[in-house]
Symmetry: C2
Subunit: 261 residues, 2 copies
């Protein structure tokens, strides 16, 4: 009984960085994750900071020899955010040879007191599968991995310089999110469980990068019959209090739709 209760989620951060051949993982294949959040009308991205290197980059992951690719991505996502059951989707494979540049990783490993040879598995060419995830900013608890010092949210609109091609990876993820936003109902994954119509609209406006008509937006969203209206919210604002809504469907599944905006 007690054993069962004490049982922790495996830390599973036991990446064999010091083992030069990376045994146990598929060689040459990595996962890079763009984890989106939304807070104060701004899109956020979760980034890792590596100590003493001035380097910032996307959370990454590797695939175990007998593990599913998508499971490996879920695993990495859970470790960075503490969250389960998150909207997560492959969006592109970054496979250009020109991506290959071992220097940032070498710098990071050295900062960890290692002196990896040129044949260290982390310094070889990687093809990287890009995933993006949509999380509830208020629930995520960012935590760094073995190689990094900090894990924190950054404003998407104001990103610092990133290592390798991570900037381009984020841009492509945002493109994909934009394209999917009006075909699937995935936006809700970025909001807390209850929200106002204004919250939802400003989320859509931020992602799409354009103003939307207030009445049309409200009418369209409500006509989809996916929201449940709750009691009034009482904001601190000097104005009529808006209703709170809750998303009806399981927040996981994307409802296939004709473009609805």
């Amino acid at each position: 009984m007690l054993e069962r209760m004490r049982k922790q989620t495996t830390p599973d951060n036991q990446l064999q960085v010091d083992h030069p051949d990376g045994s146990g993982y598929l060689p040459g294949l990595a996962i890079d994750m763009v984890i989106f959040g939304f807070h104060e009308k701004q899109l956020k991205v979760l980034l890792l900071e590596y100590q003493n290197t001035n380097l910032l980059g996307l959370p990454a992951g590797f695939i175990k020899e007998k593990e599913n690719l998508n499971e490996a991505a879920k695993r990495a996502l859970t470790h960075r955010t503490g969250l389960h059951n998150i909207y997560l989707e492959q969006y592109y494979v970054f496979g250009d040879y020109s991506r290959f540049d071992p220097e940032p990783l070498r710098k990071i490993l050295k900062s960890k007191g290692m002196n990896p040879g040129d044949d260290h598995w982390l310094l070889k060419r990687f093809v990287s599968v890009g995933f993006y995830a949509l999380v509830d900013f208020t629930k995520a608890v960012p935590s760094p991995d073995l190689l990094s010092e900090r894990c924190d949210w950054y404003d998407l609109a104001n990103l610092p310089p990133l290592m390798l091609d991570h900037q381009a990876m984020i841009e492509k993820a945002l493109e994909t999110l934009r394209a999917n936003l009006d075909r699937k109902l995935i936006g809700f994954n970025l909001l807390p469980e209850t929200f106002t119509m204004g919250d939802l609209q400003s989320l859509y406006e931020t992602i799409l990068g354009e103003k939307l008509n207030r009445t049309s937006f409200q009418r369209k969203i409500l006509s989809l019959d996916i929201l449940e209206r709750l009691e009034k919210k009482w904001t601190g604002g000097a104005h009529k209090a808006p209703y709170l809504y809750r998303f009806r469907q399981s927040r996981e599944v994307a409802v296939p739709e004709k473009s609805f905006l």
Copy 2:
């Protein structure tokens, strides 16, 4: 002068199948291609047939150590169809461990007179990047690869049993094509250079799997202002001859659009 004229497209089929470690290629990573064609109101897929094995499968490819992933896919596509400048897009990475099954490949290698050991590189686990391509059926010249006996078109609506998870790969490719069809203008890549409005409509109907209204379809497509009307066609049919149209834009680039159907 003559040398230049005689110069052939590199056969480049020199896959080192007999070399047990597959040197020169990225390990554990493959490309599988769903090549779509359209003929007589039917969607077609290009499949490879392996002699004496009763096995059918999708054209595949591997990535050279210093090659871009997308270039490797282009290379494979060109070798199977003889065509350059074809619409080609990544659509999903198949990375489940359960895909791993060396038996079909072993059978194929044996049929080629080889007796590969369990550690032969082609018998290891592969993660496969799925691409789909849209080609002009009338221009493609299917040709098999080193391991296969024949390369031919098959009716998508009536597929024979396929090896591994290739059936699911095709289904997912079709889903993606469907979703993209009304956001980008990629359908034209499946038609010859000139076509009638009826051809175009039946292409859309076949891909989407539903009847479309004739007058609305015509009005919508023409309003996009992407077609050039040519002289009349004269069909053998006992009815009014339809106009021929030609796609204006480069047939390569997908025009981003709000969903237009």
